[in-house]
Amino acid sequence: MALPALGLLGAVTTTDALTFALAAAVIVSGAVGVVVARNPVHAALMLVMTLFGVAVLFVEQQADFLAAVQVIVYAGAIVVLFLFVIMFLGVDRQENVAREPLLGQRPLALVLVALALAGLFVLAVGAHWSVGAHAVAGKTQGSGGDVAALGKSVFTTYLFAFEITSALLVIAVVGAVVLARRPGGAAGVPPSGEADAEATGADAGPEASDPFAQPGPITAEDPDPVPGAGELAHEEAAP
């Protein structure tokens, strides 16, 4: 048996073929757009396009729950997080594509990826496909459709993995909070000097206008700091 194609074009309705062709076109053009777009905001919107196309293909393959989750979690949460960070940092300007730090990296990457893709297709066509036993973890379509089957599978067969997943999410949240804290910020011990800068009330204005300014004076863990608002206020307060 070469490819388990199950009849490459036999017994397929025109609607199904058309849906696949349309979704595939949307997915591939969106993926190319992510790579090609100079502006990160455009890249994020192209990513949304690809994610919707993949959701359509999930529906086409009777994975309705995953299609909904794909739209809600990926397009609704992850891409919005991307856009939020892009606009928060203000990096939505054009990238300088002409500058190439590593000489010849891009042609080499193109050649390597093309080679890998060709190898993948050659392997897929030529290899002997061993498909193994069917329905080890449960049927895809029981009574109640794929939602019931998926829920039963996740909460019985993969229960331990599901519990580990919750631990992973908690770790990720804690990590994000720790990363987002300013060094020597409000949550930690205030460095000396921030107190008298606060006493003058002078650092409220500049800190509000520049959210990335380091509050407080230069500490040992800031080898390359932005000129801090607290420091300027401190100098003003000295005379």
């Binding site: 393959q61 989750v69 891009r106 794929d146 990720a172 994000a176 990363l179």
Partner: protein, 101 residues
Amino acid sequence: MSLGGAWYLGLAAVVFSIGALGLLVRRNVLVMFMCVELMLNAANLTFVTFARMLGDIGGQSLVFFTLVVAAAEVVVGLGIVVAMFRRRRGATADDFHVLRG
């Protein structure tokens, strides 16, 4: 019935390659993250296709876990980018050279 699984697998391979190419070519860390998401989505499509071909719900369960891991990865990765940007005022991969030992 849907098209044969080979079509879906081929499409997933193409999308994965495009994501890998973007990861190698682009310099913007945020766009590189998006390319990682592309590769994860291609893997998800493969899982769902195999779940249909084998009639096994295990593939769809794996996609469920992949989604969770992708969300956690994005949260931590973007946190690192924000922390980096606060210090270096840049979001390209070259700005991360301070991590060199």
